[in-house]
């Protein structure tokens, strides 16, 4: 009984919504098996991972804090991916944004600079991310280099650049040789939303970005251009759109959003620049973008869900002593299932009976 994929005449709206849910269900089942192999009780493990964080107010706040950069980066990436442009280097753009914004914080540290510092830092962060993202974009447009490779490689360049700065020129002289800058001044810090909590104004910026992306994709000619270039490049050319310009635009926007997320993270929850400011947000955001169906609202939900896996993973490490890397395994399996389930939107699976071979086929 061979399986065949048969093209649907119209894309299935039901499956489009159900696909991420099916993918999550399959991932949970796979994880249960994995826990069982590790000798843990699967039910207990899944409970620690996915339910306990939802019942604890502190964990809920932390989920929002983690979701803030994830969603912001993923929105930018989704614009690229819809246009069939593959920015894989958001992690690097995140780091460069953090560095670019931090430069001002370090320069003004200890001076009596006014409240203009934070907005200027955010601007610098976005600008830094955008310029860094334009490197692979220009290489693609000008030389035809694969943006997948170049953008990915530049992540490591950014990583080592950040490392050099915080261990060298920007190191806090009173920091007892730890590789970190001095704690940012209050005017260089993103304010928290609730007194004493860690949830900060960056969450509101993220919500604004989600709304702006919804309008851009659904209502504007720019959004139409992004969707058309991705869906039918030849038709896009016939429509008078320039794919090269769009490559530069989407890379710049996604870089700016990643850079903005980077500086908000540093000036918000972290409070200073240090080497490990990101637990891989730029890479996890790729999963968020696809799990959210490249749809802004979907990405918001997916970002919260992926943030849950980070928190759940930390809890599970303490409570049932499983390695933290299991979170990455989980995220990888999830992306795999999401992509597999997505093909069901355009195709359906059919079983076909193989006809019995003839006993004799003589002429």
């Amino acid at each position: 009984m061979p399986l065949v994929l048969e093209r649907r005449s119209e894309r299935s709206a039901t499956i489009a919504i159900a696909s991420p849910l099916i993918a999550i269900a399959l991932t949970l089942a796979t994880m249960a098996v994995l826990f069982a192999i590790l000798g843990k009780n699967p039910v207990e493990a899944l409970d620690v991972y996915f339910l306990e964080p939802l019942t604890d107010p502190y964990s809920l706040g932390e989920i929002a804090v983690k979701a803030t950069p994830l969603v912001m980066i993923a929105i930018g990436l989704s614009l690229c991916y819809i246009a069939n442009i593959w920015n894989i280097g958001a992690e690097g753009q995140f780091l460069v944004g953090a560095v670019a914004g931090s430069w001002l914080a370090v320069r003004t540290n200890g001076t009596d600079a006014g409240p203009w510092v934070l907005p200027a830092m955010l601007l610098l962060g976005a600008l830094g991310g955008a310029l860094y993202a334009l490197i692979p974009a220009i290489c693609k447009v000008r030389f035809g280099a694969s943006e997948i490779l170049t953008s990915l490689m530049l992540v490591y360049v950014a990583n080592f650049g950040l490392d050099y700065l915080v261990r060298g020129p920007w190191r806090d002289p009173h920091g007892m040789n730890f590789p970190t800058t001095a704690e940012f001044d209050p005017v260089a810090t993103v304010p928290t939303l609730i007194e004493g909590g860690r949830l900060h104004a960056g969450a509101i910026v993220t919500l604004l970005v989600v709304m702006a992306a919804t309008v851009l994709l659904g209502r504007t000619i720019m959004g139409f251009e992004i969707r058309l270039v991705g869906a039918a490049p030849k038709a896009a050319r016939f429509s008078g759109f320039n794919a090269d310009k769009l490559t530069l635009f989407t890379f710049a926007v996604s870089g700016a959003l990643a850079g903005l997320a980077g500086i908000i993270e540093v000036a918000g929850p972290v409070g200073h620049l240090q080497p490990d400011i990101s637990p891989g947000y730029g890479f996890t955001a790729i999963i968020v973008a696809f799990l959210g169906r490249l749809n802004p609202v979907g990405i918001l939900i997916a970002g919260l869900f992926l943030a849950l896996t980070f928190i759940g993973g930390e809890n599970a490490e303490i409570a049932i002593k499983v390695p933290l890397d299991l979170t990455k395994v989980f995220q990888g399996i999830l992306l795999f299932y999401v992509l597999a389930c997505d093909s069901m939107i355009i195709y359906r699976i059919r079983f076909i009976r193989t006809p019995r071979k003839p006993a004799h086929a003589n002429v």
Partner: protein, 511 residues
Amino acid sequence: MRAISITKRYGSFLANDGIDLDLFPAEIHALLGENGAGKSTLVKVMYGLIQPNEGELRWMGNKIVLAGPSEARALGIGMVFQHFSLFENLTVAENVALGLAPTESFTAISERLAETARLYGLPLDPKREVWRLSVGERQRIEIVRALMQNPKLLILDEPTAVLTPQEADQLFVVLGRLKGEGRAILYISHKLDEVKRLCDTATILRGGKKVATCNPRQETAVSLARMMVGADIGEVKAASRRDVSVPRLVIYQLSLAPDDPHGTHLDRVSLEVRGGEIVGIAGVSGNGQDELFAALSGERLSPSEGAIVIDGLAAGMLGVNERRRMGAAFVPEERLGHGTAPRMKLSENALLTGHAASGMVKRGFIDKSATLAAVDRATTGFDVRKAKRDPEAVSLSGGNLQKFIVGREILREPGVLVVSQPTWGVDAGAAATIRQALIDLAGRGTAVLVVSQDLDELLEIADRTAVMFHGRLSAPLSAAEVTREKLGLLMGGAKTGEEPSVEEASHAVGA
């Protein structure tokens, strides 16, 4: 070979509904029908490519079940497809060897290939690379490849669709010889005059059902057409009297290198299309028509401003949207993927060509009601049949989608319309609607340029017809002097040196 009560379902759609077909040795049997009538499905069943849901095949009286094309070939059934399966970068002999059993040495195959080709008068150089060959030569490879397996039944799917009239004549001679050798031939076509000339028996399909089996020589073209379509087709009527005005589209000495290595170099193409007239460009596909269309639409820019002039303004270096704002409109050959984005809604596909010049965008924001209104106008004006108000483009049938695309452009009331293969693969009813719309548009003063491989279409609607060959354009022939034979000769690259009166003839005639 007999096919008895073949039924094939795709979901709820009946592609073949209880079709019987009897093929005899030394007979050319025509399978007639419109696009979507079920011809291809039936022959795919007979060649083992797909399995029928019901019915059986009998080969020389014995029941057979074909699990795949190789079993069909082993029995002695050969097939020449409409779309060739050849590797462009391999030689003729290498392509043939790939399709044969690996038991034979490559030298032996090359020799047998040359021998078969010589025997049937199908000249082929085994050492040539396929991409250097014309479409007619490529078809010869397919035919020779099929003949080398010594088939008792040869199936040909629309073989003349890509040939010049003269090449088609050569093919008919070969088919006559094969018939004389006692082979059965199943000949799929929708060209009635060919079938009347060539075939001994005709089976007509319509909507998946067999309508009749008859002797085509005893039928008239009209009676055959009525059986195919199920109703009389409305004759396209010329607009009462068209006033021809000033040139609205001028192509002057346009030369352009191709942007892919197997493309055609445009060589000093010149042409004038005046308001109120329809000019046709004939030619076998791959002679530069695609390149010319891209240059006219502005998808590729010309080397100089004045190479293309729209309504008196130099447009050679302007993009497609600037040309649209000047009042030009374009319909490309490829419906899905070029003319429309397949997985986008019709309203979005209306925006695809309407965003620059049709007031569908205000300060960067899309006016959804304006795009929907454009869909509705095209739907009512051009009788586009669809399941809901705004479906995805890919869900429409070829004919309905083409009516939508042509309607989308015509409703903009363009001053210049360039349309490529307007009725390719479209059912007869839709084709008549589209041709009538083109004639009516010219009647309103528009300059219409039609690029088409269908000579009948050009003879029917064009006031003047030029021929493209190897990237050059011949001098146009007026409707009074044009004949199939003249066009056919030009399509094959013959010179028309005896027409010095036309000034373009000196440079625009084939190599």
